[in-house]
Assembly symmetry: C2
Homo-oligomer: 410 residues x 2
Amino acid sequence: MSDNLTDFTFLQGVKIIDFTQFEAGPSCTESLAWLGADVVKVENPKLGDPGRRLRPDQPDIDPYYFHILNANKKSVTVNLKSPKGLELAKDLIRQADVMIENFAPGAIERLGLSYDDVKAVNPGIIYAQVKGFGEGSPFEKNLAFDMIAQACGGTFSVTGDKDGPPTRPGISLGDTGTGMVLAITILGALYKRRETGEGHQLQVAMQDAILHYMRIPFSTQGLTGKAAERGGSKVPGIVNAPMGLYPCAPGGPNDYVYVMTSRANPDHWDRLLTLIGREDLIGDERYLTPADRVAREPEVDEIIAAWTRGRSKYDAMKVVGESGIPAGAVLDTDELNSDVTFEERGVMQTMVHPVHRPFKMPAWPVRVDGKATRLTASPMLGEHTEEVISDWLGLNNAAIATLKRDGAVG
Amino acid sequence: MSDNLTDFTFLQGVKIIDFTQFEAGPSCTESLAWLGADVVKVENPKLGDPGRRLRPDQPDIDPYYFHILNANKKSVTVNLKSPKGLELAKDLIRQADVMIENFAPGAIERLGLSYDDVKAVNPGIIYAQVKGFGEGSPFEKNLAFDMIAQACGGTFSVTGDKDGPPTRPGISLGDTGTGMVLAITILGALYKRRETGEGHQLQVAMQDAILHYMRIPFSTQGLTGKAAERGGSKVPGIVNAPMGLYPCAPGGPNDYVYVMTSRANPDHWDRLLTLIGREDLIGDERYLTPADRVAREPEVDEIIAAWTRGRSKYDAMKVVGESGIPAGAVLDTDELNSDVTFEERGVMQTMVHPVHRPFKMPAWPVRVDGKATRLTASPMLGEHTEEVISDWLGLNNAAIATLKRDGAVG
């Protein structure tokens, strides 16, 4: 397995000072860490990033949320509310290529680390911010969490049964989806900066980022002039059948297979009928064209389901897929966790942590020259305070001890 | 409005040769185009990228899908199956910094443009590929479309009602989500290449990319040891109430507001009761702690819904939000399309196209120094053939006419 791992060095030497918390910001900086950047989380000495979910004097019962978003980073604890702590933060900022934050609206300014404040000490810095809602939005002062950004960004409106209520997509796209578009822009700015040395202020709002992922529903709206609809497991706007989820044996909550015949390939329907032993229906006028099959979609779906119910989702995926018709089993986190091929290619890796039990988690999914980048443990709170202050600022032990005594660092 | 637009130049001068189609690849290269790269789509002269949905001798009835994924790019038509066309493609590749493709498994090799073929003419190129399933996966030979990658990557398993079937998230995360992680890695490779000149082969599988967006469900599985579950509009694993969607007036399919009280902030519940005129329930032992409220969640939800039903989702979002409790209206594409504040900050822009009617669409969501990057129309098929061959290769009109006569270009 370890043959498939390496340490990506694309961003070697790039210093990121990371004031982010929870998921939207940390997912962004973690992707940069996986590419080799030196990502230093600045955390408050008491409980750190609230994504750690530490509670005073109680054991950490929920570390995985933090692990999964903060691998390959360092942690420095700085008391930003003390003048010496703020001064130290500015000293670190002076050395950094990128600063990023996702505090609630107004908080970074109240700390004294607005873009103007930061630019004054480091004019070439790339200063990146995540907001919930964009400046100028009617909601610009509102707090946003993933669910709020997704509701207001449209994903709920296109998820769920056709006749049912809007539904939350089970992934935190408002957070990680935002982190990804911000990482892309930071990297663009870094690329140019190698030439110009110029700094910039980057801002993304979670609601705005969601629109980027909603582009297909917007293209549907372009065609119909109406709000894009929900379609359950179907895709509204694709007029073809059969398409969707079909129940499989033994009937557990995720025992389904997605089957998708193509409108552009009329042969798919005949091939599927042959596969399921219903050659008698080949050429049947009731089901001849995509339009005919859509008109009788419940009947068509039952023809397929009568066959899939007798098979496991893996078998159904295999034989339908082998016949050249796109098919996919619905896999849950437990099934995905058990598939060793993800580990074999380094896409899943186990975090070996000094305190918590080993934890298998998704690592960076893109492989370079056949290898994945190696996962290292997320930092303990303040684990790298002395190391980073020494490396970035050249302070010696005595100077660091003074900072500690003064309450500037944790 | 135009004051809020500029042309991002972060990737000015970076040449991308783009053999991608549909969404996963085009979403990646479009993000690079928005940052200022010179993205040249190489398309077959007959019908081009199948995402154009062109049909022989018929009008283009479905252009928006293509528009939305191919803004700010150029189109060159090359017949890759003719020896002279392939030679021309290699001449273009020799000039490029990045090449990217997302054909079906084996297709790029059959065309004669495998990584080895391409490296032979341009050793410093960054060669990026999107696969459906990773090499070594039991499904590595299967076709994958967005729905298949999402089913097999886990998103269906965590979306939908607790007791209902798995449900498709209404966004094409298997495509655009994959495009984003690949763009990040390409940019990392480009950054390093400024120093080393080194090329690399980058590969991402859509199923693997989905795991990256599934990290929160994987962290839940880490805690419970069981497959992450569906929760309708609730978030399984967050033990608190009230949280979720509440119906609003006038009762349309998207007339709901998401309200999320925090377990960490017991004051939220009392504040909400005051807001909805149910001070009588403050201190009521039935609803005192988060655990109490979860045990009586249907009752708690009805207390909130009795109030939200009398209000529009906008009003409910406004007053709940102003009381400091996170709240978000469920907005659909039509409502988002009508909100002019997206245009005011350049996050939505109108594509003015030479053939199709003007189309308002989401543009790149990250703003730099307060400005968004300017949208330009997606290219007509082959629109830039002569321009690019002249610019990249220095060929004159006579040479280009010969290429056309020989059937190498469209």
